[in-house]
Symmetry: C2
Subunit: 92 residues, 2 copies
Amino acid sequence: MSEDSGQLTLPDGWESRGAQRTMFRRFSFDAYAQTRDFVDALSALTQAEGVHPQNINFARTYVNVTLDPDAAGEPNRALAARINALLRPAGA
Amino acid sequence: MSEDSGQLTLPDGWESRGAQRTMFRRFSFDAYAQTRDFVDALSALTQAEGVHPQNINFARTYVNVTLDPDAAGEPNRALAARINALLRPAGA
């Protein structure tokens, strides 16, 4: 992350949107099998963590994830970072 | 289904949208655990069938599913019916 516009840095690929401090990232994949694997991993993560994203929207080659702010009303960087970590097994 | 406006009947809860003959249904649930179970079952179905919905959009208590037309360009009633059948285990 080379930019710093005065906000705390967000995890790679995420942006903070609007006054409500939701976070958004689009994850792109080459094929539906990878997209599906990511959605499955995301589902397992939410079960393990006892959380749920505000919204997940996916089609053949992308998954758009929107996160609610955390309990303190701040962008949920911790959950975003854990979601990013789901990419590693597929990319390894 | 008590209405028949000249179209073939669609599986329960589904509507056909637009000239492209996509199909749409909103599935509603009481809690995220049920929503997540349905998304997981839908993911497994798509893997088993080698298909993918055009779009899936879900949040805590709903899953919106949009299906492409089938190979003949008709609303994909068969896939819609198989998705409906996923509701039975959770409701049983």
